[in-house]
Symmetry: C2
Subunit: 150 residues, 2 copies
Amino acid sequence: MLSLTKKTDYALIAMAYLAERPSQFCSARQISQEYSLPLPVLMNILKTLNHEGLVVSTRGAKGGYKIADDPAKVSLARLIDAVEGPIRFVQCVGKGEDDLCVGSCPIRGPVLKLHRKLNDFLEAATLADVVVPGTEPASAGVGTESGVET
Amino acid sequence: MLSLTKKTDYALIAMAYLAERPSQFCSARQISQEYSLPLPVLMNILKTLNHEGLVVSTRGAKGGYKIADDPAKVSLARLIDAVEGPIRFVQCVGKGEDDLCVGSCPIRGPVLKLHRKLNDFLEAATLADVVVPGTEPASAGVGTESGVET
DNA sequence: CCATATAGGACTCTGCACGTACGATATCAG
DNA sequence: CTGATATCGTACGTGCAGAGTCCTATATGG
């Protein structure tokens, strides 16, 4: 349904937390308590992030995680890709020989363009856009300020 | 995982098919045979599209579906919303009192902005962009005008 | 009347998101 | 050295949504 999973939510929160403390190691417990996230889940996510190189880890007592790169250099696309796997706006993006797209699919080309647009959008949006409250992420000239409720 | 479902794929194909034949009624069987889609599924989708007012239907022999509006006026957001329900880039968009966002969520505001950007992007992209091959789909302030060319 | 087509359900099956659990390993404090 | 704390790796279980099927009713054309 065109939504990110909770994993990405958690990952975003954790990365935001770490981005604000770039010089210290923070334990998963810290973050989970701060935002009431289920600890085991968060640990799994941090493990993944570590494995993908988005954070660095230190084991043992006083260990924890630290952000690996400058938040301004971490695109949302990379984060999502790390946590959820490759982004595929439509099914037949990465294959080329999808069962639907065997030469007869009339919407393949344009939809691919849309996919790239979305991808570029997520590439351009960085962690810094999410962390810093005042920042306008990628020219937000859209005035849709009304009624987000329901 | 940030992807559209097959329903949307099918709906897009069906709508594209109907958009190219705006003056005649086409049966679900026609479309399903043309693109090798499972007929019952396609019928379900067309039923939904009809219910949402995106197509008009005629029952009985020689019946079928016809596109309801000008393809240029049908946004992808509307189509997706019709088929898959409300678009929610992140979990806590439509509620305001999500379990995660009880005042302490540090990424809520910026993420909401991202959500709106994505939404506007899908609002701006229309069926015509998908149907007509040469059209540039929706340069709708999503930023990143990196010339993505096939 | 009969064939064809949609209308509108209910229904099953499967995969993934989500959360849990356990043992192993590495570091710090005493 | 020993114990406490933390990550590491992996495996398991549950619940829900996506994907597809089936059935009956209804309307139209021949």
